[in-house]
Symmetry: C2
């Protein structure tokens, strides 16, 4: 394992534990048995370090969210669940989401580029579900996409505030459930069967 990777791993671990803003460079260096300036050799600023973590999360999510023909509700929820799992792995980033975008120059630049892609990706998936007659033709896709985006971005913040006693698995279940119920009024009979099947297959 390279020095760079060991720094990233330990940083993610400690950031997740205590929050990005509350882990000092000296503390991180001490945990790694190295000197602070050794970290800054690989990551000149703390923002660089955080930015690399954010790139890693983006890549992980990109592997999951792939455009596919004939998207099913199960596929869709599976993807969502995997994204939720990635969010837990990188939870420090999502808990500091707003601050990072306000102040981390790299992240805010990169985010602006991927933001539209991501939300149009969601919209296209919903359209695909509609074309497969899984969503009713009069379903308000913009509403669903907006609400979905809000949940995806902030579920983990909400969970850390309101459901911290729940296990990670239970938290994921809770917010997947909310998504399922969000879709419920808008799925066709066929879609509803898939939705219910997905729900029963897990819980």
């Amino acid at each position: 394992m390279t020095t760079k990777k060991s720094i990233l791993d330990k940083a993610l671990e400690m950031f997740n534990e205590k929050g990005i803003e509350y882990v000092g460079m000296r503390e991180l260096a001490a945990s790694l048995n190295m000197r602070v300036s050794n970290i800054t050799y690989y990551f000149p600023t703390k923002d660089d370090l955080v930015n690399q973590l954010s790139i890693n999360l983006s890549q992980l999510n990109s592997e999951i969210v792939v455009v596919q023909e004939e998207l099913t509700i199960s596929n869709f929820l599976d993807m969502l669940e995997k994204v939720f799992r990635n969010h837990i792995k990188f939870r420090c980033l999502l808990l500091s989401f707003v601050h990072l975008l306000q102040r981390n120059h790299f992240i805010s630049l990169r985010y602006k580029n991927t933001e539209k892609d991501r939300s149009t990706a969601i919209l296209r998936m919903l359209q695909s579900l509609m074309e497969s007659t899984l969503l009713k033709t009069d379903a308000d896709l913009d509403f669903l996409a907006s609400t979905l985006a809000l949940i995806i971005r902030f579920w983990i913040s909400e969970a850390s505030v309101s459901h911290s006693k729940l296990s990670e698995q239970e938290q994921i279940k809770h917010y997947l459930n909310i998504v399922i119920k969000l879709f419920l009024p808008y799925v066709t009979a066929k879609g509803k069967r898939e939705l219910v099947a997905y729900y029963k297959s897990r819980y």
Copy 2:
């Protein structure tokens, strides 16, 4: 105007502008034409200062969210809109919500006390709407309350990230719209008339 109040006012103004974490005590003091230690005389720590702002927001919201007999959809949405306006006035607090709860000892203590009150208040309002035959009897109130809580807490974070070009008025409209659409499948015919009437009366 007392010194204490002038500190709170200026702090809120600058915190909203730049973010709580990015306004230093010296910067704040300079804007007030006073010395740092003069601020710490009234607010020994920055957390004390932030906590007082958070108390002020809580009080403002408590004045709005009052339990009333015969709650109507209009009343409910009016309350929500007023809460949204308060959130804009104190937006710095909501943008730092997670951090404050993680690290500000006062706020996290106080929040735990009011958290359950608030969410049961939401639930009771929904029950009241149901008793007034504005919500269908089979509406999933827990789902509505959960989703509502998520929107109320994080709409302004989402707006700052995704809709920063919109005016404050447009942002409020957008998220009120989401709430309206969230309720749409669960309102009775009578409730729907109210919902539509509310929507048309504004926009």
